[in-house]
Point group: C2
């Protein structure tokens, strides 16, 4: 058995990935990779693989468009391969997501092992098989690990990282960094057991749930409501122990355990029995689930789920005093990295107002009439101003170094309405500037017709953040403004500029 | 045994509540009641009861201030009583939250039974005891039920409603309506079993979690991360079965069960054993939990938890195309009811700009520098305009009847900064109006100094929503505007009004 020594391992970021198996899980891994700018090769002999992956990819693109306005890198290429070898031989990270059968996975992993680069990471999406068992027949098992994700993989950040006896520590460390690169949280489980940690917990709760349905204590909708109106809300942001720590109050965790401990020996749960999931029970659950869905298709439920997840992630991004909390902090970190790494964007054609932001109206942006709410327009205009600032070199590093532009004045006009799901884009025309001031006029357009739905005239001041007062922008920033100012000076002044509220047309 | 006949039961809303036992759970029930406008009497002989309830109440008030701008009714009175009798004898709903011992609870319930009004609802917060056992000694058991809530009761909406053999169907139906009145989701469990549904599920997962810690598979922080980065996010919005329905894809729930069923018989979980929660394990968990808290106090963790829950509830309120989903839909329904029932507010003193909205800068409102983001100012100005509209009779019913005012133009100026936790209020001065137009000038003030942080000059048009065009407002609305217009006509015109962007001072 050849051991790969640390010195042969490059710590570089992942630029090429391979997905072996392209179902719902493999396809969603591919979406994660591609949207993080990584070229991704897929091998799946299933005749419908391209269709299935295409659908997952569409869901993922839709979700990311709502999730973040951070500068995602240009999408990676998605390449369907005719052989496993073709898919894996150039990859930095190969992720296996074939059906959950030990012999099948071993065979596929052996073939990956034969064709992969020596320094490639080889992960398996197994939800329960032991990594030591899976890597048994590999010639180079050191680079193999379990990377167990959760559906929908493109939105849920957790990936459980578990090594087997043959896995090197370096592989796990590299896998953690690689997970971070694609916006995931690599949680390392140091001891391998079947089903790892997440599925152990899920399995325990699942068995109890099946008993509750089997015994007719409640139906599936009641059980789901019990979860989502109570501890589901807690667990989206803190887990089990941190929640109970709070429940213990000032007396703390030990006090809570002393209080709660005795319940464990009460005959509450049917732990000693495994429910027989026979045809009758399957039919009972199936029928209750149908009733609960109220005619909504799987596609519709996916859409609702993804919009909810996006909303929750964004809410948690604002948690803990704006620093972000849990999955929201991870999102904030991911976005800050994207901002830091974003190359100065190429200047769009300056002979017209600059086209800067593309957006789609998400559920969280509309009121109960389905119209986009007023303050979300201002959010779009803010994103548009940020995009202009990046064009002239005022990026995250610039702000962190102590200077920025602050908005001091805004004039908004509403000329039309945007509705849920509508695609929009924004344009910006520079009206004037000097060493301290930026004066510009932006529009929100309907993406289909180009019609202007709202306009904003804004004035920004260059400031010294620590001193809290206006200061002249450096020459480098002014130099980048110059060609825009020159081109836009030749454009007609927008009809709505320079107006005060209530001014007759 | 006297049975209370339906004819003696009034279906009216709850106006007086009693809380027997005022710990973390009883105190949070009191907060729910009081913030929903219900006068609440508390009986708890514990010497620290007032302090504990005061702390819970402060948390609840803080959370509600962030949660909603809907017109909460004037707070109910909170009355500490010297005897149980004094607390319960006038109450519509009596909620028992004393420690979890059958004999103690039976004694307290018998005493409540002796002094309560015949038509009172009597709920118990027990998390596990059977209602039939609890109501055994009551003379009037028909009005008794379990109302099992989840911590923090003032934010988590679930209350499991479980009747015993002596409980009438009418009592459960009334309890459901009463729960709705205070913004909770009453989920009825039709068969009584120990621990009902929620704690059955929690108990199963908790036992498995204790084994994972006991066996050293992971520590408490790892386990919490596994939950909150994956299925915790799913369960905040869909439960177990709806999530798995989606996982089954187009093939559906029955397909999923057929696939997943076999795992049940695998030897994954340690279901047959109950972990011994001895001193060593308690200490192990306590130490890991301390490390995980990273020095944060319980108060700090409560604050973070509540802000996260508020953010999640608000995100879900925007779900499902703006209709709201799960706990967010419940919040939307609660707010709509508040809007509908809100009495036309009394006109604030019109001899000065109208003071209309009070707010506190929440975590979701600040950027990573801790400053309130630009578009949240516009949100506050929008709430201020809504408050003016309610004053002149343009409320939910008015909008639903087909007319409203739409903002067409806004001029914003930023004069200062608001930071996380800062208390703010807004004022509004009417500049002019005619049958179709409302022109006004609003300010966001720091609540402590009165300093103006931002101003907005806005123009709104009265519209026929269906036709989508301007239309004259009815005389009743104009009549309500008249006294404001008259008083504000005598005020000096605000210095910032009538300005265009970049106009020299």
């Amino acid at each position: 058995m050849t051991t790969i020594t640390p010195s042969t391992i490059t710590p570089s970021t992942i630029t090429k990935a391979a997905c072996i198996g392209g179902g719902v899980i493999g396809g969603a891994w591919a979406a994660r990779f591609v949207l993080a700018g990584i070229d991704t090769r897929i091998y799946d002999p299933h005749p419908e693989a391209e269709r299935i992956i295409g659908e997952v990819m569409a869901n993922a693109e839709r979700a990311y468009a709502m999730l973040t306005t951070a500068p995602l890198p240009p999408r990676g290429k998605l390449i369907f391969c005719k052989s496993l070898r073709e898919a894996v031989e150039v990859a930095d990270w190969i992720q296996e997501s074939v059906p959950e059968r030990l012999e099948l996975k071993r065979g596929v992993l052996t073939e990956i092992d034969a064709h992969a680069r020596p320094d490639a990471l080889i992960g398996s999406s197994t939800s329960g098989l032991l990594p030591s068992e899976l890597q048994r027949d590999m010639a180079h098992p050191g680079r193999f690990f379990v990377a167990h994700p959760y559906n929908p993989v493109y939105l849920l950040p957790l990936v459980e990282l578990v090594g087997g006896t043959g896995t090197t520590a370096d592989t796990i460390a590299r896998a953690e960094r690689a997970a971070e690169q694609i916006g995931m949280k690599g949680v390392v489980i140091h001891k391998e057991i079947e089903a790892f940690v997440g599925d152990r917990l899920l399995e325990a709760l699942w068995r109890e749930a099946l008993w509750l349905i089997h015994d007719g204590i409640c139906d599936t909708e009641t059980l789901d409501n019990v979860i989502r109106y109570s501890f589901g809300l807690r667990w989206a942001q803190m887990g089990l122990f941190e929640t109970y720590r709070i429940a213990g109050g000032e007396a703390g965790m030990r006090h809570f355990l002393a209080q709660f401990g005795p319940c464990l020996s009460w005959p509450w749960t049917k732990l000693t029995d495994v429910v027989d999931l026979n045809d009758a029970l399957v039919e009972k659950i199936g029928a209750q689930s149908d009733a609960q869905a109220k005619g909504r298709s799987i596609r519709e439920l996916e859409r609702i789920r993804d919009e909810n997840l996006v909303g929750i992630l964004q809410a948690l991004k604002g948690g803990n005093g704006g620093e972000g909390w849990g999955a929201g902090q991870l999102l904030a970190n991911f976005e800050q990295r994207l901002w830091r790494e974003a190359k100065a964007p190429a200047l769009p054609d300056p002979s017209a107002p600059l086209r800067l932001v593309e957006a789609k109206v998400s559920a969280a942006w509309v009121d109960y009439n389905g119209h986009m709410t007023e303050h979300r327009y201002l959010q779009l205009f803010g994103d548009t101003a940020d995009a202009l600032l990046r064009l002239i070199g005022v990026d995250m590093a610039y702000v962190e170094a102590g200077h920025s532009y602050y908005t001091v004045e805004t004039h908004l006009r509403h000329l039309g309405e945007a509705r849920l799901g509508q695609r929009l884009y924004t344009t910006l025309q520079l009206l004037s500037h000097d060493a301290k001031r930026l004066h510009f006029f932006s529009c929100v357009h309907d993406a289909e017709t180009g019609a202007v739905l709202a306009t904003a005239e804004q004035m920004m001041l260059h400031v010294d953040s620590a001193a809290g007062r206006a200061s002249p922008a450096p020459q480098a920033v002014l130099d980048r403004l110059a060609p825009i100012a020159e081109a836009h000076g030749a454009l007609a002044r927008p009809e709505g500029a320079g107006r005060f509220v209530g001014q007759p047309r």
